[in-house]
Symmetry: C2
Subunit: 335 residues, 2 copies
């Protein structure tokens, strides 16, 4: 003696409307093959009964989940919250109608991954070791896009930002302003952005025929604490430094704090990276490199839906340019 389930199905609606369940299906799918009067009759019952189509049943037959995955290298503290949220917001706002987004981190590997749960995936990748996991997934589900980090996986859509050129431009600015002993405070060494930004730093120095001094280069973490600790250490070990390129804005904020404590604020130039909101509210306001995260996320999301919808995407790799944002933390050197 089974009682009826509480939710309504198209069969219930069909009975109430005195039509077949196929007609109801046509109505909810906006098929033109329904007489207008029939459609109205069915729609009235649907509204009255507050009927909502069962997405699971639809998914089973259509072989689509109407869900995409947004997978982070790690949802933990490796990147700044503002960056993560910027990605999520932009992807959310670019979702195709009717689509949901599932947020996951893939630091635990394949263990919980099941291709039947998503129509496609955007990877926000941070480090080279991600590629192993991404390739495995690619074999089962080719509808994937990698953003934020250059990947060497073939035949994959990969939207990145020219981190190296951005970092180089930042250091070149410092050189133009008259700084010669330029330090570098970086984040976790395994993060690709770290490697790229360090390369930009090296290049700028080399092209200006300035020596690269390993004693001025520090690796910490991409956060306030990393910046503070490394700047403190840098000031102790290499007090001749006159400017520091910080690999992101959080590091720069921490570095400014260390300068302030030693009464050196304004004496040593600081440049950040990312153009986070906070940089406009530091003292002095932060010169930084604008990273077009919104654009990257949007393009990645659009490319994924093109893939899902079977549209060909001719350009597999897309590298977006950065832009220098000049504020007061790196003005002309005064001796």
């Amino acid at each position: 003696m089974q009682s009826k389930p509480s939710h309504k199905t198209i069969r219930d609606i069909a009975e109430l409307a005195g039509v077949s369940l196929m007609t109801v299906s046509r109505v909810i799918n906006n098929s033109p093959l329904v007489r207008e009067s029939t459609r109205e009759k069915v729609m009235a019952i649907i509204e009255e009964q507050k009927f909502k189509v069962n997405i699971t049943a639809r998914s089973l037959v259509s072989q689509k989940t109407y869900t995409i995955g947004v997978f982070f290298s790690t949802i933990e503290h490796k990147v700044s919250d503002s960056f993560t949220m910027q990605c999520l917001r932009e992807i959310y706002n670019t979702l195709a109608p009717g689509y949901n987004m599932v947020v996951k981190d893939f630091s635990q590997g394949l263990y919980e991954y099941n291709p039947s749960r998503t129509d496609g995936i955007i990877f926000i990748s941070m480090q080279e070791s991600d590629d192993e996991f991404i390739s495995l997934i690619q074999q089962e589900n080719p509808k994937i896009v990698v953003i934020n980090r250059r990947t060497s996986i073939p035949n994959i859509i990969n939207i990145t930002i020219d981190e190296e050129a951005g970092a180089k431009a930042a250091v070149e600015l410092l050189i133009r302003k008259g700084y010669k002993n330029i330090g570098l405070i970086n984040g976790q060494p395994n993060i690709q952005a770290n490697i790229d930004r360090a390369n930009g730093y090296y290049q700028a120095l080399q092209e200006a025929r300035l020596p690269v001094n390993a004693a001025r280069i520090y690796n910490g973490s991409f956060n306030f604490e990393g910046g503070y600790l490394m700047m403190t250490r840098l000031l102790q070990n290499t007090p001749d430094v006159d400017a520091v390129f910080c690999a992101n804005d959080e590091i720069a904020v921490g570095a400014l704090k260390a300068l302030e404590e030693r009464g050196l604020k304004g004496k040593i130039a600081i440049v950040g990276f990312n153009d986070s909101e906070i940089g406009r509210y530091t003292t002095p306001p932060l010169t930084t490199v604008h990273k077009p995260v919104d654009e990257m996320a949007r393009q990645g999301c659009k490319a994924l839906f093109d893939l899902i919808n079977g549209k060909e995407h001719s350009e597999l790799r897309h590298v977006l340019p950065t832009e220098l944002v000049i504020r007061k933390s790196a003005t002309k050197k005064i001796d």
Copy 2:
């Protein structure tokens, strides 16, 4: 002439293993009703074929989606990124095994909501107007939890934080330190946290028999810019203010910036709210109110899974306490 689909089903595995599909089903569900040798044989084929169960099909018959919704009042700029990320991280880490989380904002209302897509929902609510939407959803799907904001909806699990007591404690601290002309910089007036924190401010003043002066109260936005703009206006209009309670830490950072520009840093005490990371790296370091966001999110998520699993939850409402974090931005008043 239809070619076989690329993905494997339990039927394929059954054929390859020479058993019925029921046996395969039992194996993937860890049923004890399978002979060990049979299990091993089937498992070998599963691994060899890289078979993964189709979650959609399982969902259709089990009437479970293995997905929860994490719905924000708005994913846009009403709250700080650090708060949003803290909620997401903690919920993610509290998810039951096999569960996915879908992140959405419900600023657009019911339009896209479909109860067949989630087994339950955690609402991170910000404003009273959310209740209308939440009640509508509650009718179709009673497995919901509301966190962050007191809701008047009956029979609903509601985990909040005693914002009022936290704000009151912060202002009482200022009073104890000798401040008398205490301003308030708040966020958007419709946000509940705003109302609660303002009430805490009023209460502390009233209990200390200090006058509440409307000219010292400013409403802006819960971000750096709001703090900066309102502090600037406050300094112009009511220069007798000797301390300011800011409704969150981002506001406090903006306010410190405005003070610094006028050479007033250290002269006017500042207290924030939330205990965000940034507060440890301002100058001076920020005295603030610790909001146990992690705990709130974790309890909300656990309660939701209790609900989903049919466990009774005796305590519907839970209010978590805050804690004062004393740093240098609000030391004893010096005249």
